[in-house]
């Protein structure tokens, strides 16, 4: 009896915590798979994401570093309203600006300095450095946090997706792929492979 009561209390507590955390921490499923791209050299400029997931999502702060004259990570996924801290771990000055959407220019900042930008609009923001025009990164701003960059081998995984049916879409800087409908069940992994081309 005591054990039953304890178990019930723990279950209630777990449910309560889950509800408080919102959809992101709900007992969700995973969507994973592989993206093929033609030509494959554009593969790493890809984000797989879910479109229009209902709910509100807590605002977060993410980081994009500048190190070795590169934006790291090359592609960062965030949610509308999130803040991105742009770091500089090079011993040369950098600049961060984007000509996309509302556009912004964070000015010139030296080593170990951090400058931030709040992304209020959905879309993909090209990250450029006016001092080093060869540098390139992307900040993908989604309506929801269910998005995953694609790794060098084409793999992606969107985790903790609330059970339901969604539209799975792909963003790539140069290539396109048709959207897919995907149904996710709690605790399960759905595999969806995608093909990108011109």
């Amino acid at each position: 009896m005591v054990n039953t009561s304890l178990a019930s209390r723990l279950a209630v507590l777990a449910l309560g915590l889950s509800a408080a955390a919102g959809p992101a921490l709900a007992a969700g499923g995973t969507i994973s798979g592989k993206v093929e791209a033609t030509p494959p050299k554009y593969l790493e400029d890809t984000v797989v994401y879910l479109k229009n997931v209902p709910g509100t999502f807590p605002k977060r702060t993410e980081k994009m570093d500048q190190k070795g004259m590169k934006f790291l990570p090359h592609v960062l996924t965030v949610t509308k309203g999130d803040t991105v801290d742009f770091l500089n771990h090079d011993n040369v000055a950098h600049n961060v600006y984007s000509p996309d959407n509302e556009g912004y220019n964070l000015g010139t900042f030296k080593q170990n300095e951090t400058r931030s930008h709040v992304f209020e609009k959905e879309g993909t923001y090209t990250q450029l450095c006016s001092i080093h025009p060869e540098m390139l990164g992307y900040v993908f701003v989604g309506q929801n946090p269910y998005a995953s960059p694609v790794d060098a081998k084409g793999h992606y995984a969107i985790k903790n997706v609330p059970p339901g049916t969604y539209q799975l879409e792909v963003w790539n800087a140069k290539l396109k792929a048709p959207a897919k409908s995907v149904t996710v069940a709690a605790g399960q992994t759905v595999t969806e492979n995608l093909t990108l081309k011109r």
Partner: protein, 477 residues
Amino acid sequence: MTINVLPLRLAILLAVAGTALPARAIPAFARKYGTSCLTCHTAYPKLTPFGEAFRRNGYRFPGVDSDYVKQEQVALGQEANKKTFPKTVWPAALPISVPIAIGANGQAFAYPDKNASVPRASNGTQLALDDLVAEGHLWTGAALDDTITVWGELTLSPDGVDVEHAQLLFNDLLGPKHALNLVVGKGFPTLTSFGPHSSYLADLAMPNAPVTAIYSGSADPFVLVDNYTGLEVNGVVAGRGDWSLGFNTGKNSVGTVFPNESFYGHLGWKIGGMRLDGEGSQGPANAMEPWAETALTIDVFGYRASEHFGIPGAAPGATVAVRDGSSTLGAAVRAQAGSGEVDLGYYAQWHDHGTNDLAKVRAGVAYAEATYVVYPWFIPGIRVEDLMLSPNGGSTVSDLHLMPGAAFLVRPNVKIVLVANVEIGNGYPQDATGAPLGWQGGAADWGSFVLAPTDTATPTTKRSELESIAVFLAWAL
């Protein structure tokens, strides 16, 4: 009539040895795209239909060129910088390594007939290996982005170093893709829908007629296919029509620079086979024969040229010059049926001061080449060239050149061409005194018009000779 043949012999030697061989394969592209020479060439520099499309497109693949680049690139700016122009420089890219290719070529001659023109000028030599390595080449070919490309060639020979090609190509300037391009720099004028080296048996598809060199000793005569500095606009319309309009410097072989601009243009149309721009290609009907297609291409062209050269007989170094203006009209046809190909062409050229006494002269040049790709490494064929000269008030003379032979591709980047050269002359051009002159011109150093008069020849002497058996060797890395 007694003739001093020594100057003739020297002139022939100079004509044979002094003509620079133009551009060939460009392995820098093989490295850039990570692809074999055979993607674009059969026996290089002869191009497949795809290779011709690549050349016409300004050395770019159909579709989006950068999609096919496998060589690592250094971004000189990211594409997104276009959105911030003019506050930023328009972006471009550089290949990670200098896009240079190297190569060498030359020819060896066997002269079965000791009395043939060239061995007579070479002291009776029957085997000449002197020019087996006649030239070294440095080529470059690169794209700065998806629209601007660069093409260059530096040739090193005993004559010195020559910038044969140095061109910036601004592609897709206006209208539909490939419709309007601008080429700036030094290179060949575009007179047909095919590359200037589109021949298996000669260096040039279209033979040259150096009229002022034949008659007046011009050291740098105007010829149709040569490297000129200038501007050209060209393009491919609807995938089937090819056009060009060009403006370039003419020839000036005297020290003083005279105004000598020239103009030219061409129109071509292709029926059947791959589109001229290669867009939307479904690939060759037989994947084992990417060179094969069934198509007919017709070109017409015109050229108004000017040349300044020293007045014949003037003191050496004199800056007094005469201007020879010439007008050319011509046509070319390529008919291809599978692996068989026939090329036919003719042009007439009217010079207003072309002869030694600065009289008018008309030149007529006909050429044909029939080949069959038996294997991708073995392409036999026969080539015919004919040069006719008709000076004002003089008799018409002609020289027919037959070249049976075969091209062998030892490796995709090593080529041998074996060619026999037979010449049949119907008279000789005459100098101001009426003495016969040697023939010059043609489409290859290893098979040019070289028929020279014998000591007892007259301007109407008919003569034929097995001039040589030539082996041309070329490699490129």
